[in-house]
């Protein structure tokens, strides 16, 4: 059992580290041992003890400064293998990049490193972040710590599994259509996707550029805040990162300050801390496709919020279902172009046998990419093709704007936050949807709209379901743009009133 699990939060771990009651090296060593011991989960793709221990030793030196040490000094985390790293290989869980090493670090990676965090290595995910079950990894599926036969969700499946199994205090993930929220829900951990543009995409391998956004996964909202705040901020190397959020400078400290101010506001309200908060509950999120066990857990969570003083308001997001085809046009369109660079010319997999240039490229790509990636490249190429562009891509962009407007209408007068399920069901068994990829696409129904609108949203554990071993259910909390700090404060209130986030899977 890794040492960090003796601490219930990053804050208490930090206290112990600064007081030198535990060293970064001890934490890292025990975490690496645990990662090896739980190799069955296939959560980690690349571990390099030397690299990790070097970071731990550097953190220990910083910790000599005591209270002056960076906030995350010595905290063991791990990165989704979609973030490029100079030390560890970066594969995007693809055969295409099986041996790839980046000459630079992703901004998210270097920011967390500058904050003192110690990286345990790189985490499994769906190939190029395309998938909802981590089954599309060229290096085998990651497993759900609650039930090794169940998927951990995806695409940040390794990240959620590692946190759920206690292998890391937190992990980075990326969310294009739900890839942070959905695995967090299915693994019973907390995750947040911030507003598009608050976190730099530099060094995050692109899937759907207009949707991709990095976010942390951790046990609870307070730890998410510890990780998200230093990750965020304007980056001159990403033209889509924002210089300002609603008039405030986009820099570390912004989300933290918002959290503190919201938490104070709630504290001041006494026994009904959330009095006046209007929770919009979209009817479309509770339709026929929603499994009863998930519905029950989510309803209970909403009742908890009501008991804290919040008011429940029925709202409508009429284009919830349309988000699916819209997303599965836009994301593959962007992906088909983003993934063109993997051609076997400069780096990555190159076919052994080819007779000319065209064949070298097509064979390298056919061999290097898995079936889901090929599928999305083909869909994306099709929808951008001459004669189809207007009917698919342009039409999808129009619907996307309508979806944005639907959310804005809800936030304009009806509600302050929106809540509902993250997924229609608890985690499926590994292999269930192998013959039916579209079934996976349809299961993204509750998360896609948020991604298309670029809104911040999170998932917090809110109960269990399933017919065999208990499997976690997640509650989705969606806020208006730049309300990350407030969302985390809300989630924190919920977690003060519940203990779902403290439940741990039995060690198999």
């Amino acid at each position: 059992m890794p040492l960090h699990n003796e601490f219930d939060s990053i804050a208490s771990l930090r206290e112990a580290l600064r007081a030198r009651r535990v060293s970064a090296r001890e934490l890292a060593t025990s975490a690496l041992e645990a990662a090896h011991a739980r190799a069955d989960l296939n959560a980690f793709l690349h571990i390099d003890a030397d690299l990790t221990l070097a970071e731990a030793d550097a953190a220990d030196r910083l910790l000599e400064q005591g209270a002056q040490a960076p906030a995350l000094a010595g905290v063991p985390i791990a990165h989704k293998d979609l973030f490029v790293t100079q030390g560890w290989r970066t594969t995007a869980a693809s055969k295409m990049l099986a041996q790839y090493k980046s000459p630079f670090d992703a901004t998210v990676v270097s920011r967390l490193q500058n904050a003192g965090a110690v990286s345990l290595g790189k985490l499994n995910c769906d190939e190029f972040a395309m998938g909802s079950g981590n089954e599309n990894s060229a290096f085998g599926p990651a497993r759900n710590p609650w039930d090794p036969d169940a998927v951990p969700g995806g695409s940040s499946g390794g990240s959620a599994a590692a946190v759920a199994a206690g292998l890391a205090m937190g992990a980075t993930g990326t969310d294009t259509g739900g890839s942070v929220r959905q695995p967090s829900a299915l693994c019973g951990v907390s995750g947040i996707k911030p507003t598009y543009g608050t976190v730099s995409r530099y060094g995050m391998i692109a899937y759907g550029s207009s949707l991709d956004q990095a976010g942390p996964i951790a046990r609870h909202a307070r730890d998410l805040l510890e990780l998200l705040d230093p990750m965020s901020g304007f980056d001159p190397r990403d033209a889509t990162s924002l210089e300002a959020c609603d008039g405030q400078k986009n820099e570390p400290g912004r989300i933290h300050a918002q959290f503190v101010s919201a938490a104070r506001e709630f504290d001041a309200a006494g026994s009904q801390p959330l009095k006046g908060l209007r929770i919009g509950v979209p009817g479309e999120f509770f339709g026929a496709g929603l499994a009863p066990d998930v519905a029950t857990a989510v309803e209970a969570a909403l009742a908890t919020f009501e008991s804290l003083g919040a008011e429940r308001v029925a709202i409508s997001l009429p284009r919830t279902e349309l988000a699916i085809p819209t997303y599965y046009v836009i994301a593959p369109a962007e992906a088909s172009s983003n993934l063109s660079r993997y051609d076997g010319v400069r780096y990555g997999h190159r076919a052994q046998q080819y007779s000319d240039l065209g064949e070298m490229t097509s064979r390298s790509r056919t061999e290097g990419f898995g079936p889901e990636v090929l599928r999305r490249i083909m869909v994306g190429t099709y929808v951008l093709s001459h004669g189809y562009y207007d009917a698919y891509y342009l039409q999808a962009q129009r619907v996307r704007r309508m979806i944005v407007n639907d959310f804005q209408q809800a936030f304009a007068g009806q509600c302050d936050v929106i809540m509902g399920p993250v997924t229609p069901t608890v985690a499926k068994r590994i292999g269930d949807n192998r013959e039916d990829p579209v079934a996976d696409w349809l299961a993204d129904i509750y998360t896609l709209g948020v991604s298309l609108a670029g809104l911040p949203a999170m998932s917090v554990p809110c109960g269990f379901g399933g017919s065999g071993k208990p499997l976690p259910v997640g509650l989705q909390i969606i806020g208006n743009y730049f309300s990350e700090g407030r969302l985390l404060a809300l989630a924190d209130r919920f977690q003060q009133a519940t203990d779902w986030h403290q439940r741990k899977p039995e060690l198999a």
């Binding site: 973030f83 490029v84 970066t90 995007a92 990049l97 790839y100 980046s102 000459p103 630079f104 992703a106 995409r201 530099y202 060094g203 995050m204 391998i205 692109a206 759907g208 550029s209 207009s210 001159p236 190397r237 990403d238 033209a239 889509t240 369109a333 962007e334 088909s336 172009s337 063109s340 660079r341 051609d343 010319v345 400069r346 780096y347 240039l357 065209g358 490229t361 190429t381 951008l384 093709s385 001459h386 562009y389 891509y393």
Partner: protein
Amino acid sequence: MEWEIVIGLETHTQLSTQSKIFSDSSTRFGAEPNTQANEVDMALPGSLPVLNKGAVERAIQFGLAVGAHVAPLSIFARKNYFYPDLPKNYQISQYEIPVVQGGSISFFVDGVEKTVNLTRAHLEEDAGKSLHEDFTGPHGESSTGIDLNRAGTPLLEIVSEPEMRSAAEAVAYARALHSLVVWLGICDGNMQEGSFRCDANVSVRPKGQKEFGTRSEIKNVNSFRFLERAILFEARRQIELIEDGGTVVQETRLYDADRDETRSMRSKEDAHDYRYFPDPDLPPLVIAPEWIEQVRAAMPELPRHKRERFEQALGLTAYDAAQLTMDRDTSDYFERTAAALPNGQAKLAANWVLGEVSAALNREEREIGACPVKPTALASLIARIIDGTISNKIAREVFAAMWSGEQGGDADAIIEARGLKQISDTGAIGAMIDEVLAANPAAVEEYRAGKQKAFNSLVGQVMKAAKGKANPQQVNDLLRQKLG
């Protein structure tokens, strides 16, 4: 049948920024392969483009210079196609909404002014280079190398309307465009290094027909001379094809300078489906009016404004003004010369710059910047014509001496040393006239009988006696007096 050639040009001008359009690596020419390509230029996983403001400012300058609309909002799009020297396998360009819209370029062809409208000018990145020749792989095998130093170099693609009707017009347009971008300093204009490349869209139609014929696009034309030859060849090819009963197919053709012919590269059927779509990595390019004004304020005086000023304030002809504003160095040279002369003498300065100076420069294939006769020296020579010290004809002799550095290139010293000073002493000229009249009684008779020709012959005799140094006007006046 009489045929008309229709030509439109697409010109890729390499913008003179220090760094690339979407990355901070250098754009310097001629470095070791792949030493000027960073993670963005090599399209490594996770890299992202960030727009170079300097490239945008150069596009704005161009837009202002040609009187175009500088779009307050333009969009970068991805042009998708696979090629090994295109690292992302898409080119970032502008498609539906370019940064510069409209505008026009005016120039002279055979002394007649012509204006060609521009469709647009858009920003885009250049590709790398494939090295097919003299390249061997790591094991000595023949192979193709990729040099990505050029990848990401900023380009402004300037597209004209199909408004040129001859190869000569196309070349004149290209030259005018070339001098403008060099004038503005937004492009170094080096054609050998590929800083200024033209593709020509060429079609033919029976004279008088309204509809355009089917066009072919000629690529790879890297000099004005080749541009002219390529268009002439292509037009002839199309005319012969049609006259032989064939039809022109829409295609891309490559000009082969060695064989002086165009060859089919790919037909419309093989044309790529580029699957353009807005680049999600780059927000729309927003150009606020204040930015445009900032750029405008820092711009050199535009050639067309200078031209107007030369015509209106200095009284030059439209043609002379246009010739003098073909490039900045020439106009500077002219202005410095004119400035050193009394007001109202600019016309004389223009004649000298466009006449003697430019002829000498052409003869020796020199740039005006390297002219051995500096503007102030030229002005001092012209001043001697104005004050009657020497005639225009003698001045040419002095100029040649100045050019070769005689007497340190000083006009007065040369005039003195060579004894070229015009004789304006009435007594001396009168004496020479008396001698001539005495020696030519027959001519005197003829003149008195009313033959003007005889007078001219007498003037010639006097000038000859004066070795060309007598003031011709004075000779005329005195001679008339004496013949009474």
